[in-house]
């Protein structure tokens, strides 16, 4: 496994190095992209000197956490309900499968009318993005509970509540974590997109401002920050998910 990691690291570093060279040699001009090393120093500069930085980070992160919480809890409950009624599930299926091909944030202006410009609109937008992934993951998770576990529960004469808590929930947990991972990824998209379009605060708004002012240094610094954050969170949840998978489906 370590050999794979080494090659992975080499591939990623090589790609960044090629990008650095292309920028340094002027094949990619400075108005298009600054070299990756400069992105990092620019990020350091922004963190150290920009007075707005921590306030905007706090604003975006706070909204993100609220959106994730809403979509995970809401998606889990709706998923349970949808799974309990097979006819509802069959009818809703086409909506779930085509949901992510429509840019949900076209509804953002309507949300602003209802909730005003501010955290509430952004949180609702982020939750709208994340919730369907969680619903689908919950339904799949319950589907995949091995029937033998339910038989064991019946043989042990567990009640319905204890079957749900002791058998179904742990066995479904790997797929639920998949849902959590997707809900996080989609909520990030929703929050950042909302801040791009219209917001008074937040990291996404800072990116849009920097883009409009041709301030490539700040823009790329913040892009590196957002992408790095997304990759790290996704990787952490991904390895948690795999650990659960290994534990439950060892074969």
């Amino acid at each position: 496994m370590t050999r794979v990691r080494v090659i992975q690291l080499a591939v990623v570093c090589g790609a960044i190095l090629v990008l650095e060279l292309l920028c340094r040699l002027g094949i990619i001009d400075r108005f298009t992209m600054i070299p990756p090393s400069e992105m990092l120093t620019a990020l350091g500069h922004v963190v150290a000197t920009a007075s707005w930085f921590w306030g905007d980070v706090r604003y975006t992160l706070g909204n993100l956490v609220a959106a994730i919480a809403l979509s995970v809890v809401g998606g889990f409950l709706v998923g349970l309900a949808v799974h309990a009624v097979p006819r509802l599930r069959r009818a809703l299926d086409p909506i779930f499968t085509s949901y992510y091909s429509v840019p949900t944030f076209v509804l953002y202006p309507l949300l602003i009318v209802v909730f005003g410009i501010g955290p509430t609109s952004l949180i609702v937008l982020g939750a709208l993005f994340g919730i369907v992934a969680m619903i689908v993951a919950t339904v799949t998770a319950i589907d995949r509970v091995p029937p033998v576990l339910l038989k064991v529960a019946r043989v042990s004469r567990l009640g319905r509540l204890r079957t749900a808590l002791l058998m179904k929930l742990p066995a479904a947990s790997p797929h639920l974590v998949t849902g959590l991972r997707l809900a996080v990824a989609y909520s990030v998209i929703g929050i950042i997109a909302g801040e791009f379009i219209l917001s008074t605060e937040g990291i996404g708004r800072r990116v849009a401002l920097a883009y409009n002012n041709f301030d490539n240094q700040t823009m790329y610094a913040l892009l590196v920050l957002i992408l790095g954050f997304a990759i790290v969170v996704n990787a952490a949840l991904g390895s948690f998910e795999q650990a659960l998978h290994r534990r439950w489906y060892r074969s």
Binding site: I7, S101, V102, P103, L110, V114, I197, L223, I231
Partner: protein
């Protein structure tokens, strides 16, 4: 489950959505939502108006190009990485973290590289679609039963013949799933590209309606887009069911 029962379900669902829409409309008011009847009428007006179709054609062209790039590129990438075990182990996590990044943050970069216009839209669409296609292809090849591969070896099939007669048929159902998801993602990418960087297309119509705050137009366009996406998805799902083994 008969066809008639399914039809009844869909009708009930449509009725339920209609009702939910009306309740939401009553709650939020005409400033935020348009009533369902008027929205449907506006959607119908769009479909018969002369201004709508050039925009739809522009979107369609960009979407088509993005789809071709995403599907072919994704399949090529998937087969390259999926056929070789080490390459798959190295490449798959990299691809899946690329898939999970919020690609919308890259839109300023795409704009700087491609400028305003159709190439930015195509690039943004393809960028969204290529990773799911590649990932599903890798997964499909990885999950091919070892017995099939051993059989091919016993029969002394050449690599190309193995790919064509054994690997492809075995992996096809999952690849079709990947194509469907890639299709959806490309549509999303194309529309986002149009929202931010375009002078024509349905996304451009949407952003204009958003800026002018024409609630009815936003809702009607969203409805049309959703109907198109759902219809295309249903078609691809039907294909998927046909190729999936019973």
């Amino acid at each position: 489950m008969t066809a008639r029962a399914r039809l009844v379900d869909y009708l009930l669902l449509a009725g339920g959505l209609w009702l939910a829409w009306i309740v939401l409309f009553e709650w939020a008011g005409p400033e935020a939502l348009s009533p369902p009847g008027a929205t449907l009428r506006r959607a119908g007006e769009y479909l018969t108006s002369a201004q709508f179709w050039p925009h739809a054609a522009a979107t369609g062209l960009a979407f088509f190009c993005g789809c071709v790039i995403a599907l072919l590129g994704g399949l090529a990438l998937g087969f390259l990485l999926g056929a070789h075990r080490l390459a798959g182990q190295v490449g798959e996590p990299i691809l899946s973290s690329l898939y999970s990044i919020p690609k919308i943050t890259l839109y300023p970069v795409i704009l700087l590289v491609f400028g305003l216009g159709i190439s930015a839209k195509v690039a943004f669409g393809a960028l969204h679609g290529i990773f799911p296609v590649a990932l599903f292809t890798i997964g499909a090849l990885k999950n091919t039963s070892p017995v099939l591969i051993k059989t091919a070896q016993v029969l002394r099939l050449k690599p190309l013949a193995t790919a064509r007669t054994v690997l492809l048929p075995a992996a096809l159902p999952e690849i079709v799933t990947g194509l469907r998801i890639g299709f959806s993602a490309t549509l999303l990418g194309t529309l986002i590209g149009e929202l931010f960087a375009s002078d024509q297309g349905l996304g451009f119509m949407l952003i204009r309606a958003m800026e002018a705050h024409k609630v009815l137009d936003i809702m009607a366009l969203t409805l049309l887009l959703f109907a198109f996406a759902a219809l295309a998805n249903a078609l691809l799902l039907a294909v998927e069911r046909r190729v999936h083994p019973r």
